[in-house]
């Protein structure tokens, strides 16, 4: 479809650059300002409020854990690592710290736009995957309720598991619910009925 592609724009983004004063940092800032970003340079360490930045560019050569006020498994924004050394340990650390893209030092006149696009895209994709995984995990954790509902239906309708599952799925579709929500609803109703029977 025409217009499906959108030229990535970083106008109005706030960037935090974690790097000591250096010509690499100056060249990086110049390129980012050309792209419409506001840039804040920080050294030697980040503050908690820097988690609000739209993008973080950090030094992969001299960077270390204590510079970050958040844990490595939290990645609040797209991140780009500046790499001079390609020593495997440094590259590994940069990735672990959340770099979704990198720029090789020395920083010249190009590369920043591409790195921003790659970092943003990989960040967005990771967020989407994480959200999807968390939804799936939550649904997985409710498997016992689904099993309970199927057993209840088998007992009530004197049918096999396959038929009970099909009934449950139809119930979910009719109510526009997930199968887990339908199971919860059914269990509540049946549980109530069973409770009543017990009382009787």
């Amino acid at each position: 479809m025409a217009g499906a592609f959108r030229t990535p724009s970083f106008r109005g983004w706030h960037a935090v650059v974690l790097h000591r004063s250096h010509s690499d940092r100056d060249n990086l800032c110049r390129q980012m300002e050309r792209l419409g970003l506001t840039v804040e340079c920080v050294w030697p360490e980040l503050k908690p409020e820097h988690a609000n930045a739209n993008v973080l560019v950090f030094d992969g050569d001299m960077g270390h854990e204590a510079q970050f006020p958040w844990k490595a498994d939290i990645q609040p924004m797209p991140m780009i690592a500046l790499l001079g050394t390609e020593a495997p340990g440094r590259v590994e650390w940069a990735i672990r710290r959340g770099a979704g893209a990198h720029l090789n030092k020395p920083i010249g006149s190009s590369g920043v736009y591409g790195a921003l696009v790659v970092a943003q895209r990989s960040f967005d994709e990771r967020l989407a995957y994480e959200e999807r995984i968390s939804v799936l995990e939550h649904r997985l954790s409710r498997r016992p309720q689904v099993v309970e509902a199927i057993l209840a239906l088998m007992e009530q309708k004197n049918c096999d598991a396959r038929t009970a599952y099909r009934d449950l799925r139809e119930l979910a579709m009719a109510g526009r619910l997930s199968i887990e929500d339908a199971a919860d609803e059914l269990n509540a109703r049946m549980g109530g009925a069973r409770g009543n029977r017990r009382e009787a």
Partner: protein, 403 residues
């Protein structure tokens, strides 16, 4: 006292598939160098050292290296394709040179060692579509030579059409120099778009335009008044090669020979004296011509041909040229330019010469925006969107003038 002589590189392909525009560019640089050397406004002279990469991208870096290392040039006026410009970047970085790039291009670049004096997208394809979509419709067919210029201009075109609620009926590429275009014409005949955006270059473009002219003669749907061919790089330089096939072609450029200004009347008069009464003047000539003048003014203003000093001292001061003052924006090192739109009339005639009739009387100077930072192509007809210019008349996307 003898004036100091400063060597400058002139790097254009005067042979090869796009030599028509390469030779024009070379002449533009030569004549500007002669004018500067004849002027008493400068305490130096320029010596142009020419190199011809023959349209082969891989030869540009080698020749740029030779111009700088062997011939002592610190500045190069040159390149007419983005591919060749990108080939030259590493040489400029290594040797500390400065490239004056005079050709319209697709943007998304701002190299410290390049001064861009040709139009970038907000100064070429965007104003072209602002004119063309209301005039012809929003269903386009895109063609291009298979390299970055065509890919990127067509990508922006696709996005612009999306913003207008339009569509791309086809997007086709052929290798530079290829003249087998029958399949393109056939597809266009079947798809029947509102207009065609042509990003082919050189001989491919000539073959395409001649074949399309023939299609228009067979089927009136494809007459230029109904389904025209638009481009961002067709200039007067190529009209003689195209003959009658040029009639009705629409192009955007920051210079047309028919510009009605005092400076341009005097300039074109001077060029007729120099190049003969029938020689046309085009942006392909004027771009390098102006670039040499800007370089000379910059050397005079900063007192040296040191590229770093020029980059630091050049921006923000308007530099006087025979076509009026030109300003380079500090942040992006691109020129402020006025995009015009013209339609070819009188094609194939010897007298008067074919020419571009200007279609937009109210063209205004635009700040360069190579990354389209200040422009939202998806804003479409919404006049109240955040990045729009004042005004709000018309139905297309607007540009924001950054001053």
């Amino acid at each position: 006292m003898a004036r100091k002589e400063i060597p400058i590189g002139v790097l254009f392909s005067t042979t090869g598939p796009y030599s028509v525009i390469g030779r024009e560019a070379c002449w533009g640089a030569r004549i500007a160098i002669d004018e500067i050397n004849a002027s008493d406004a400068f305490d130096f002279t320029l010596r142009g050292i020419e190199a011809d990469p023959r349209g082969e991208a891989d030869r540009y870096a080698t020749l740029a290296d030779r111009l700088m290392r062997k011939d002592g040039c610190r500045h190069i006026i040159g390149c007419q394709t983005s591919w060749s410009r990108k080939e030259v970047h590493p040489v400029l970085e290594r040797l500390g040179g400065l490239l004056w790039y005079p050709t319209p291009y697709e943007g998304f670049e701002s190299h410290d060692r390049v001064i861009y004096t040709g139009a970038c997208p907000n100064q070429n394809v965007v104003p072209l579509f602002q004119y063309a979509v209301p005039a012809f419709g929003n269903r386009a067919f895109l063609v291009g030579s298979n390299y970055i210029w065509g890919w990127e201009i067509n990508r922006i075109a696709r996005e612009l059409l999306g913003g207008y609620g339009g569509s791309v009926l086809g997007e086709r590429y052929i290798p530079i120099g290829d003249q087998e275009i029958g399949h393109l014409i056939e597809e266009i005949r079947l798809k029947r778009p509102d207009f065609i955006l042509n990003n082919l270059i050189g001989t491919s473009s000539y073959a395409f335009l001649k074949a399309y002219r023939k299609l228009g003669e067979e089927d009136p749907f494809f007459h230029p008044s109904r389904c025209p061919v638009l481009s961002c790089n067709l200039t007067e330089a190529e009209l003689p090669v195209l003959g009658e096939a040029a009639e009705g072609l629409i192009s955007t450029s920051t210079y047309f020979q028919t510009l009605d200004t005092v400076e341009n009347r005097s300039f074109t008069g001077g060029m007729r004296l120099l190049r003969g009464p029938d020689a046309s003047v085009s942006h392909m000539f004027v771009g390098p011509y102006l670039a040499v003048w800007l370089l000379a003014r910059a050397i005079a203003a900063t007192g040296s041909d040191d590229p770093d000093g020029i980059v630091a001292g050049l921006p923000d001061m308007p530099l006087l040229t025979p076509l009026g003052p030109v300003r380079i924006e500090r942040k992006t090192q691109h020129a402020y330019l006025t995009p015009y739109i013209g339609v070819v009339e009188g094609a194939g005639e010897e007298r008067p010469m074919p020419r571009f009739r200007l279609l937009d009387a109210a063209a205004t100077e635009m700040a360069p925006d190579p990354y389209l930072v200040d422009y939202d192509p998806h804003a479409g007809a919404d006049a109240n969107r955040p990045f729009s210019a004042g005004g709000g008349q018309g139905s297309g996307p607007k540009l924001r003038l950054v001053t």
